[in-house]
Symmetry: C2
Subunit: 282 residues, 2 copies
Amino acid sequence: VEFLKTAVLGVGLIGASLAGAMKGRSLTGHVTGFGRRRENLERAVEKGFIDSFEMDPGAACRDADLVVFATPVETFSSLAGRVSAFLKKGAVVIDVGSVKGLVRELEGLMPGGVSFVGCHPIAGSERSGVGAAEPGLFEGALCIITKTERTDAPVAGRVKALWEAVGSRVEFLGPEEHDRLYGLVSHFIHLAAYALVNAAGDVDSSCMRFAGPGFRDTTRIALSDPALWSNICAMNRDNMLTYIEVFRENLGLMEGLLRAGDREGLEKAFRRARQLREGIGD
Amino acid sequence: VEFLKTAVLGVGLIGASLAGAMKGRSLTGHVTGFGRRRENLERAVEKGFIDSFEMDPGAACRDADLVVFATPVETFSSLAGRVSAFLKKGAVVIDVGSVKGLVRELEGLMPGGVSFVGCHPIAGSERSGVGAAEPGLFEGALCIITKTERTDAPVAGRVKALWEAVGSRVEFLGPEEHDRLYGLVSHFIHLAAYALVNAAGDVDSSCMRFAGPGFRDTTRIALSDPALWSNICAMNRDNMLTYIEVFRENLGLMEGLLRAGDREGLEKAFRRARQLREGIGD
């Protein structure tokens, strides 16, 4: 048992899956959940993901050796304020948010003797909530751990071992580097997919019934939670604005080739994309 | 047996799959293939998709009751010119191209007594070639048949029955309506995915190793054949230019919301996309 008592704050897709994965592998003795909706917490207990729950986050954290911030990322700062008085000395606090710009702020909000380590498991899908949770979610997935000058190395090692124990491989990145990279391969991709669907809707919303597997794949992440992703994009705003501009340039390049009737130029631009994309397989 | 002898011109993903599907269901007595690469045709014979092959398209069409144009769509006009003298009276010619703007031209290139019917099976993937072919490809798929004022109704009925016999459901659209709709849900989606990958490459091509399932899904069609899709986009140029503009407006809207810090407005825009996308399921 790595962590005798674990508190999972936010029992959704990621929180419930991690709780279930830890319990299934005996990485923790007891998991207490916290969330806003009692019904959801009761369901997580029934499914065996958590052992008990509290309706107050501070109460959930009492005596916890590991605290997992798994609520929507925009709530982390206020959540830290609500629980800090209840964290015991030696506790490890991690988050599982998709944007890491606030890691330094969260480190500063921890009381003495409590270590914070930012984590971003690259798992999950457009689905959300305890209904989509499953303990195998992290198997074969990548997990980014963000390291700063305040990160306690032995604690980071324990957190790394935790993610590896649930089946993930771990890479370390600085919070800014994380947001630069995931802003590109995740946050911006969501924004672009939402914009694609809205463009299709503007032209002719009835078109979608003609869509094949290509359209489905390309726009699947537009099924993702709008509140979650608008917060993530807003929290990574400067990177987003840069990527929108670079994307617009690439669209403009293709537009120019189409207008000029430069079919070979267009093929060359498409070929470049295929080569880049081939680097990560199917 | 619906068609005693069938000629499949272009034995790639769609041509070979259709040939195999027809043979498997005894919808034809004999299939002759035509293609540029002998090796590929020999492979299609070995796999049982076709019975024999010719290296000349006219020779393949001799005595054929059904001729299938399944080469890249930009070759159809010259292909029609090469085979028209060899088509027998009463023959039915169909194509399986993804863009339909040239259907009227192809109709005009048919000799007397030969009927042309444009088809677009919404099947396949980013993969191509006989290696990816499989007779079950059309099961559960939609197939668009384009109808014009020159379409022979009984022949269109036979072609519809053919696609239904290989497992597809059929809808009729005019060629222009087809290109307007598929320009949006297919051609433009490809262009956007290629542009997305190029934008990611411009920012940092090393980013892709951090990509998760969302990036993979969203950009999978950027693995599609660049020559094929640049031709399709070029052949549907005017619709493409319109959709690029509408897409740019939607990106610009989101950019403005980000800049203004209007998180709720961004959520609303994302929510609109999710609602639209939910209409076609996962």
